[in-house]
Amino acid sequence: MAGVTGRDGTDLVRAAAAGDELAFTELVDLHIDRCYAVARRITGSREAAEEATQEALVAAWRDLPRLSDPDRFAAWLYRILARQCYRTVRWYRRLPGLHRGRHAETDDDRAFDWDLAAPVRGVGFEERDELAGAFETLSVEHRAVVALHFYLDLPLVEVARALDIAPGTARSRLHYALRHLRTHLDAVRGSEGLPVSHERGGRRP
């Protein structure tokens, strides 16, 4: 991936580590959208996602000279991001009266979450609606594993490193998260008299 000056990611990381703020600006431009998207999924809040993304990128700038392998910048950045998401969620939880309903979503947020115009092969509108709702009910720890694994395509070993947990814990969280999503969907369908899927196939995590 190259920045606007044509330098590739590794060159940008090296330059930024040496103090080149413009190079870091290019790195920000390359990564900020994805960082925000991942943070949005983990925290479940637009406001918290902005906070976590900003803090992660600032921390990355501050600590970049300590990154030994420039090729691992992205994984390193997402590790910082995941931790910032945890911190930010805890920060918001300190606000009494806000932990319930504080982040009531605006219409735009709902549109963000329920982008029903985007087709997903094999998944109908109602199912996507239910699935997104089920995702919100996962804990921040489970959402983090799911987001890093599926959004960023990080292997579970990398996910575990990013979150400072054992690989087995990452695996079990992913398993639990998928099971929770399936169970939630089945419960919704059952309550609405729709056929409940007994399919348990698909690639295992």
């Binding site: 703020e21 413009l22 990128l57 700038w61 000279p65 606000l95 698909g202």
Partner: protein, 400 residues
């Protein structure tokens, strides 16, 4: 739907999500990067060029109101802060910045009277004896702001400390809660409003210290924790004298008054006798989050029901329940100023930060002031209202 369908849906979401990162986030981030460099945490030969880049870009978006303030002659964060013992002034950032009026408050938000740059990212505020005190919400510092001169004195919470979180000032003392580095509850600290030094540290993981009824009252743990235990600290000894477990979940907050301490939630309400610790249930008053005491009444917010409520703590009765105005989302923080309450929130469909007036005599909503960011932890010195501008090193003053 099987696991594969779920995976496919999850992977598809990332592509949709990426389109919505707001431009203001990029600009704010680059601005903070430049500020980090200026603090000396990351020396950069290109800082000046980047700053210009940020300033130019900011002119076309929301941050255009922020960046010009940074470029003025007002305060800058100076040299790298040297480690200092907890509670002692940090020498280098003590400065005389931004006398009120040197920054352009009108560019900040229409109803802001003055803006102070305080050098650390804003957090909870408390006012006492003409000074405004603040804890940074992400750095282990607290500071004193003289709103008349704009002078700021900064104090360290300790090099290994997490940041401060909540703060209250009354009866000649200041108390703040301090977080662990990952924002868990860590301890309470007492700050001397004269010297600014830390007078005591109470090693208990409590949040939301509130001064009243002769004691300091805090919530053990985090507000979201199940069950509620109120911590009572005696300011004469700075010791915890009681931990009072509530017999029900009054998890929305606590409010000391002259007639006792109230712990109120949506499901339960209790009055605590400050001398004996005895707890009396008040089931009819379980209305939601208590926010501010004004004119002898406790005023609070019920976000679920979208109401602002008031109770008479003497009679134990509900005095008012005002439906929140349409198109307004109020937050659980407010201050009482000269017969009125000013409530923080959003207007215009959750887009515009506001202060909404409640006329105490008429018990109805009044004027709406346009302010900077959505705010929590606001304070008043009895005439002006001070707002931490979240995620920035600014404090805004409103003269309602």
């Amino acid at each position: 739907m099987n696991d594969h369908d779920i995976e496919r849906w999850l992977r598809s979401k990332i592509r949709e999500d990426e389109a919505v990162a707001p431009d203001s986030l990029r600009l704010r981030t680059l601005d903070e990067v430049a500020r980090t460099t200026q603090r000396g945490a990351r020396p950069s030969p290109l800082a000046a060029m980047a700053s210009i880049s940020v300033a130019v870009a900011a002119a076309v978006v929301v941050l255009a109101i922020i960046v010009p303030l940074l470029e003025r002659d007002g305060p800058r964060v100076g040299e790298p802060t040297k480690p200092a013992p907890a509670g002692t002034p940090v020498p280098s950032p003590t400065r005389t910045p931004s006398p009120a009026g040197t920054l352009d408050p009108g560019a900040f938000a229409p109803d802001v009277a003055a803006v102070y740059e305080v050098g650390r990212r804003s957090g909870a505020l408390a006012a006492i004896d003409g000074d405004v005190w603040m804890v940074s919400d992400i750095e282990p510092y607290y500071l004193r702001l003289d709103p008349n001169t704009g002078a700021v004195t900064e104090f360290s919470l300790g090099t290994d400390s997490g940041p401060g979180a909540e703060m209250d000032a009354d009866a000649g003392m200041i108390w703040a809660s301090v977080s662990t580095t990952d924002f868990g509850p860590d301890r309470l600290v007492r700050i001397d409003p004269i010297s600014g030094e830390m007078a005591a540290s109470v090693d208990i993981g409590a949040t939301y210290p509130r001064i009243g009824a002769g004691y300091v009252w805090a919530l053990l743990g985090m507000p979201e924790d199940r069950g509620t235990t109120i911590v009572q600290v005696d300011p004469a000894s700075n010791d915890v004298v009681r931990q009072i477990e509530m017999p029900g979940e009054c998890d929305e907050g606590h409010m000391p008054t002259g007639l006792g301490v109230w712990c109120i939630g949506s499901g339960a309400a209790f009055r605590i006798d400050p001398e004996t610790g005895a707890v009396e249930a008040q089931p009819d008053l379980a209305l939601g989050h208590p926010v501010v005491e004004a004119a002898g009444l406790i005023w609070g917010l019920n976000s679920d029901e979208r109401t602002v409520w008031a109770i008479d703590p003497v009679a134990g009765t509900v005095v008012a329940q005002l439906p929140m105005p349409d198109d307004v989302e109020l937050l659980p923080d407010a201050v009482a100023v000269e017969g009125r309450i000013w409530w923080t929130g959003h207007g215009s469909g959750a887009r515009t930060p506001i202060l909404l007036e409640v006329d105490l005599e008429a018990q109805q909503f009044g004027r709406t002031l346009l302010v900077a960011e959505p705010n929590y932890h606001i304070t008043t010195d009895g005439s002006s209202i001070y707002l931490p501008v979240l995620r920035t090193p600014f404090v805004a003053r409103i003269d309602p």
